[in-house]
């Protein structure tokens, strides 16, 4: 799925555009817990979240995530937008809830990362 298709499916609005809209998004994920994003995020994926503080962008940058979608039409503060501009993350907002945003993308064929295995020792 390209970023362009993703934005269309979510009837979304691009807040910060740091990638070509024709770039492929290989996977999707959703979390409000940044530790989960750091643990389970995969390269170049799209992250759906209800949090809008600047650390969400920082977390995405660290986890190699290209696109963040803010659900429920949440407007990120100025600092979040600025940080996205600097760190090369693309920001999108959608009016759908987290559940519905994920559902629409999944139904359109955007995969998740599959079952997550947590080993006793390393987790």
């Amino acid at each position: 799925m390209t970023i362009r298709e993703l934005v269309e499916i979510l009837s979304g609005k691009i807040l910060v555009e740091n990638h070509s809209l024709d770039e492929e998004v290989p996977r999707g994920g959703a979390a409000d817990l940044m530790s989960d994003v750091l643990a389970f995020g995969t390269d170049r994926m799209v992250l759906m979240t209800g949090l809008t503080n600047p650390q969400v962008v920082r977390t995405a940058e660290m986890a190699g995530i290209n696109v963040i979608v803010f659900v429920r039409d949440k407007k990120p503060p100025h600092e979040t937008i600025e940080m996205a501009r600097d760190s090369g993350v693309t920001l999108v907002s959608t009016g759908y809830t987290m559940y519905e945003a994920c559902g629409r993308l999944y139904a359109a064929g955007l995969a998740g990362r599959g079952p997550v295995k947590i080993e006793n020792d390393s987790w």
Binding site: E5, D22, M34, S35, L38, R58, M62
Partner: protein, 321 residues
Amino acid sequence: MTSHEITPVQELIYTTRVETVMATNVVVLCPSMSMAEAKTLMQNKRISGAPVVDGDRVVGIVTMTDVIRAMELGKLDSPVTEHMVKEVMTAFKDASVIEVVNRLGREGFARLPVVDRDGKLVGILTNGTLIRALLHEMDISFQKKETEKIQTYRASHIFQDILSDDTSVVLRFVVDDKDFSNAGKASSMIKKSLQRIQIPPPIVRRVAVAVYEAEMNLVIHTDVGGEINVDIRPDRLFISAVDHGPGIEDLQQVLQPGFSTAPQWIRDMGFGAGMGLANIKRCSDMMKLISEPGAGTRLDMIFVFGENAAGVVGGSSGKKS
């Protein structure tokens, strides 16, 4: 949906906003001016048209064509409001350049007054200002790319260029406490530096996540901040996060996934779930936590790459320090 290559110029006109390419020193006419005065002003300023402005509103536009027509009618002494075009096509300052390019091109307008969302005149766009600004932007982005290339080349060759038995590069970063909005700055710099040195991308990703978790710990849990040291060798990274904060009472307890002492406001921000150290352990090839109450904390991490990587991941041979 047609997929085609987007040229750098196309990318620029799609991503650049009108306000960055417009001219801000707009020559304007007031409604009370005569066409003769407008003609003199435009000749002196060497322009072929100007908006008529009442207060800060654009009420019309006068071009040389209008001046010639007034001349032919012998009415150069009449006010500009009689001869100006009243339906003025304007552009919003936050619109993308692609919109105005279409207007200037297809609809044949030579100039577009630029207004803000309140309708106030803030600048003007002509083919000339557009081309000049785009060339300037292209030049900047080209220079940036070239500079990054040179910096990457230089940085990635440091291990070949420096003569020694064993070369290591040490980077030091200071982390302020409770400075939540700046948290992650060190990690961001570390990630960029490692990319520049051309450490393999999967390693960079693991380091970025681990270092970011460690940096968040310094921000959240110490009252004095701390520092992160990155020791880069040709085949491995030694990274330590050191603070002189309160220290940790029970080391076994903090290593338990889910254990956290983070305050509620940190949790509201999506952090402090008690998974940081577990995540660092998972990302690094070796992790060691040393702490004593009142004596600060030291977290050591090792990341191995190149030929030695396989022997250490998951094995016990990595305990080198």
